[in-house]
């Protein structure tokens, strides 16, 4: 099959960017979208043109490194699927595909289709952990955790940190990412000691970098792990409580 690509090319954060048009012919339906880009890059190198820079690594949908906008949809048209697992059979022969980087103020552009998502690491630093030094843990079976709780915590923990939720959001908000991280830990008994400080810190760091959530729900649809926006509700509820509880705890001390 054959596709026409319009790819965003930009040499660096300060350089001007523009779409460039490429035609990729004789590709197989069994190929993944990124393998199609590999072939295009191979052709570009042979022609003496610099290959398109794009982030990718595991190519099995779990590392969260890859991700581009394809025709305005983060990770392309297939629900619950990261760019690396999207296959060309999902497109029509002769289709035109517009390929862009994540567009969000919180993700400054690095080059071509690569953006800087380190703001996510800053949010985690703010409390995306349970403070337990190595060696100080009690026996793993000491605290039974109901299966449903553990399963729901897993649903949140499945987040791969790709940033599609931010790219999908009209406001460039990172609420789904932050809520997934907070909910994973806040649901578990181990996470209770730091529940309120974690929630307040992480939400406020998030707001330094990203826009505000106005409940569009685009993030859930874009998420390659189909993480539910219910977690955003949980985060918001915990944030309001945290505002009271954190003060009360301070007042008691």
């Amino acid at each position: 099959m054959k596709v026409n690509l319009q790819v965003w090319r930009q040499e660096g954060p300060e350089a001007a960017g523009a779409f460039k048009t490429y035609e990729v012919d004789k590709i197989s339906e069994e190929m993944s979208f990124l393998e199609m880009l590999d072939i295009l890059n191979e052709q570009l190198v042979n022609k003496g043109e610099e290959p398109i820079a794009f982030d990718h690594d595991c190519r099995e949908g779990i590392c969260g490194t890859c991700g581009v906008m394809i025709n305005g949809q983060p990770h392309g048209p297939q629900l619950g699927t990261a760019t690396c697992q999207l296959h060309m059979r999902k497109f029509d022969d002769g289709a035109t595909l517009v390929v862009e980087p994540w567009r969000a103020t919180g993700f400054p552009l690095v080059r071509d289709l690569i953006v800087d998502r380190s703001a996510f690491d800053r949010i985690i630093e703010g409390g995306g952990y349970i403070s337990v030094d190595t060696g100080s843990a009690p026996d793993a079976n000491l605290t039974p955790i109901p299966k449903m709780v553990a399963d729901t915590a897993f649903d949140a923990a499945a987040c791969i940190g790709c940033g599609a939720c931010v790219a999908a959001c009209p406001n460039g908000a990172a609420n789904l990412f932050t809520a997934a991280k907070i909910s994973h830990l806040n649901l578990l008994p181990q996470g209770q000691a730091e529940r309120w400080s974690r929630t307040e810190n992480m939400v406020e760091i998030m707001e330094e970098y990203f826009g505000s959530c106005t409940n569009h729900g685009e993030c859930e649809k874009a998420c390659p792990k189909s993480i539910s926006i219910d977690f955003i509700a949980m985060m918001n509820s915990d944030y309001v409580k945290a505002k009271f509880k954190n003060r009360r705890l301070v007042a008691q001390s």
Partner: protein, 640 residues
Amino acid sequence: MSLALDSKVPAGPIADKWENHKFNVRLVNPANKRKFRIIIVGSGLAGASAASTLGELGYEVDLFTFHDTPRRAHSIAAQGGINAAKNYHNDGDSVYRLFYDTVKGGDFRSREANVHRLAEVSLNIIDQATAQGVPFAREYGGLLDNRSFGGAQVSRTFYARGATGQQLLLGAYSALMRQVETGKVKLHTRSEMLDIVTKDGRAVGVVVRDLVDGTVSSHSAHAVVLATGGYSNVFYLSTNAMASNVTAAWRAHRRGAAFANPCFTQIHPTCIPASDEFQSKLTLMSESLRNDGRIWVPKNPDETRTAGQIPQEDRDYYLERIYPAFGNLVPRDVASRASKRMVDSGRGVGPLKNGVYLDFASAIDRDGRPAIEDRYSNLFEMYNRITDEDPYSEPMRIYPAPHYTMGGLWVDYNLMTTVPGLYAIGEANFSDHGANRLGASALMQGLADGYFVLPYTIGDYLADYLNTDPVPADDPAFTEVERDVSDRVNGYLSANGTRSVDWFHKELGKIMLDQCGMSRSEPGLQKALSDIPALHEEFRSDIRVLGSGESLNQSLERAQRVDDFFELAQAMCVDALDREESCGGHFREEHQTDEGEALRDDENHSYVSAWEWTGDAGAPELNKESLEFEYVHLTTRSYK
């Protein structure tokens, strides 16, 4: 032999060695720990767990990763689980049994003392991960669930759906980020280590390249830890992530660290077969699928019916037939070779006849579809996304693919390489898996090294350097290496050849897969040893890397990685030639039983091959560490 390989295994009964060693190694007192700088390269399970633990202890840590965030490391892709001898299921497991299984599963080519220690600390890992909030699978009573895994007859594998590696890595990453927040660990992302710096025979720092702006810089420390993973990507097509590479370990090797057992590579039995020549990588399907899936091929090589139409009597469930005791759960090397024999005999399935069936029909009949969904739904979805086939209604097609490398930098019991002050942990070292790794043991080893072994042993080395400053980063030792690194980078850019990096990588991969993959022979290896240097020569003169060294340049990154793969590939072939026996993942066609099973030669090859760099990649020098088996008696592995 010019290296004195002292394994430093402590004396005493095996169950007491680690306990005694922990007491005997020197400690650094808490107030002095902040005076030591430690560089860690790599942020996977081993690197992140080591960095967080050393930070908690009070050391000053610099962590380098070429990823944009530490959470991307390839540990994240491990699906199946992590072993621990908790015996929560009362089925006869114990530390000793895990130790025994791992030594036997490794086909008697690992160091007993290291393996016993691994089994001991496996208990702590599960406790630690659970306390961090890793959402392991649980039973309805709220306690942790376990399953059995390839090569084991007890249920000792803890898991988190099909994403155990992800959840454990996120646990280690969260602990790491907590230390980043306190300032004890300094994080350097998109920074690739390109060389080790030594002075007076000791490791004193690293030279790294900033992948965004191309700056080459030096960083010094009292000790350097490599947690840089394995080298399966030497085969081009493997289940490893695209960026996984051997460069850090190989550069250390060139600076004096012995490289052990490079030919011990593992071919994972359950991966999705390649669909066309443009395939960039292979996708693994967790081995846990073998608990419920039955592997078969049609009896007739000319079979044309679809899987569902083939009646039971025309199917060959060959693992159940050949290995009745273990059936579909035989260890990876055994399962992989059996599949290869089936495909080689023309009985492969799928459009390219390059796979075998993994069939869940019996399990769905027995346990019901909901039970199977609960266990494997995310794996089934992944399979469906890649192949567009539905494994609930038709069998999966699988075939072995390079997956893990047991070989790696030689380390002693303290995890130190032959270069003082340079440590290797996780998949980057060679120590615990012998010639074959058991399923669910990689996560265990990475975390054991990082959380519970290195933090104890590194103090013993550092104690000698109390109140000394690290060698300054502007010392001539550093500037010289920085110049080497820059010259190398410029070399690729100025070659101005005609072929891309990927072209060379694919060609190298083909040679390695054919001659040094699942089965090896003397003529094949000799041929590889003449083809690889020729291709490498062509690579040097004919490579085309466009763009500049002063900006983000992915072809340039790959060029230096592939360059090192060329040298490693030769070491692998030399090692495979030297090892005149078949053991674990290393199968020499000359050494097999009448039934085609591996034939080990304990008399002559019960040793670790620690290769020393000589300047000629095709002629490294062999040093041997002989292996003694005091507890697990040498037997021929039989899974029948």
